[in-house]
């Protein structure tokens, strides 16, 4: 069986995670789009922490019935990996977008200088 203290600690940690994420969204420091995965992580961990029979059953399926909290760690690690992978894709997209912006800016800046020069020469006439 899972020690009760482990379940309590895990439940508190999950609730804290959910509260912190919600607070970050409320303060507009985190966009909902990027918070969703964290909230799912918090809820799944909370369910696993509170639903002790379920945790034991899953541990039995996976052959770690001797120490069910291992499932908690495994779930937490799995979700962190998913979140990080998701962020890597977000980062790659931002990278592409900032490259495109810089290129467009360089081309437009040259165009503006060119047009401004034409304007100036017209003023001289």
């Amino acid at each position: 069986m899972t020690p009760v203290r482990v379940s309590i600690a895990a439940a508190i940690a999950s609730v804290l995670l959910i509260l912190i994420v919600l607070e970050l969204i409320r303060g507009r420091r985190l966009k909902e789009r990027y918070a969703l995965l964290w909230l799912v992580t918090g809820v799944v961990l909370l369910v696993l922490a509170v639903w002790r029979d379920g945790l034991n059953t899953i541990a039995g399926w996976l052959g770690v019935s001797g120490y069910p909290p291992a499932i908690l760690f495994a779930a937490a690690i799995l979700f962190v990996i998913v979140v990080l992978l998701h962020y890597s894709t977000v980062l790659s997209k931002l990278d592409d977008e900032s490259t495109l912006l810089a290129q467009e800016l360089a081309i437009l800046r040259q165009r503006v200088d060119e047009l401004a020069a034409v304007d100036d020469s017209r003023d001289l006439l």
Binding site: A102, I107, R109
Partner: protein, 243 residues
């Protein structure tokens, strides 16, 4: 087929010592060639020297690396409707005097991309450091196998392009160490690549940024990119043009 309006795309990062002579070298060869220097957020006077030498200067707001800088030039060429483009590096390693060799082949109309190769037909006396040499040999072999045609110099950035190739590179160009992936991109889009023997000069100023450890890193990174690119599906330019 004629070359039409020609633009020279010159990427440059902190090359104030070399950029002036690169620009004047191109203009001395043929004043009808427009020169656009892409200043990759240099901290020295690269942009000013290029402008003083008669180039159009595109100033990037922050450093994009060679791939992003080169693509900026091709975007500009595509936007302004140039018929042919040639890329020379801002460090002076590509000799403008070799340009007519590239243009001669491009003008025949049998190639979309003409690459100046240091190794085809014996090549010159170019002796790069070990790490770089390993990469050059490895990628020449790999790209030749993947594209089923012989490519001797996949790391050469000395290239002349026609309109189709300009359109492709304006739309899609790899990032750091881009030449190898670009040669695969050309093959994947069914563009015709022809190599011409050229000699390249030693760098006029500064040192090459490729050290041995970085060479290994780039070999791994670009190999991954090549393998993934082979598995990717590309829209051919003709297909994209059809409604």
């Amino acid at each position: 087929m004629t070359l039409g309006r020609v633009i020279a795309v010159v990427p440059a990062f902190n090359e104030e010592g070399a950029i002036g002579s690169v620009v004047t070298g191109i203009r001395a060869l043929d004043p009808a060639i427009d020169v656009v220097v892409v200043d990759d957020a240099s901290s020295d006077g690269t942009g000013a020297r290029a402008a003083a030498a008669g180039a159009t200067v595109l100033r990037l707001p922050y450093n994009l690396g060679i791939g992003g800088a080169v693509q900026t030039g091709f975007r500009f060429a595509h936007l302004r409707g140039y018929d042919s483009a040639v890329r020379l590096d801002g460090d002076g390693q590509h000799d403008p005097a070799e340009l007519p060799k590239l243009f001669a082949v491009l003008a025949l109309g049998d190639a979309d991309v003409v690459t100046g190769s240091r190794f085809i037909g014996g090549g010159g006396d170019y002796r790069p450091p070990l790490g770089r040499r390993m990469g050059i040999v490895w990628f020449a072999w790999l790209v030749s196998r993947l594209t089923r045609r012989r490519v001797t110099d996949t790391t050469s950035g000395f290239q002349a392009l026609n309109r189709r190739a300009i359109a492709l590179f304006a739309e899609e160009y790899p990032s750091d160490y881009p030449e190898v992936e670009a040669s695969l991109l050309v093959a994947k889009h069914r563009l015709r690549l022809v190599e011409v023997q050229v000699s390249m000069r030693e760098r006029e100023h500064g040192t090459s940024s490729i050290t041995f450890v970085r060479s290994i890193y780039y070999m791994l990174k670009v190999t991954l990119a090549l393998v993934v690119a082979m598995a990717r599906k590309y829209t051919l330019p003709e297909e994209a043009a059809r409604p």
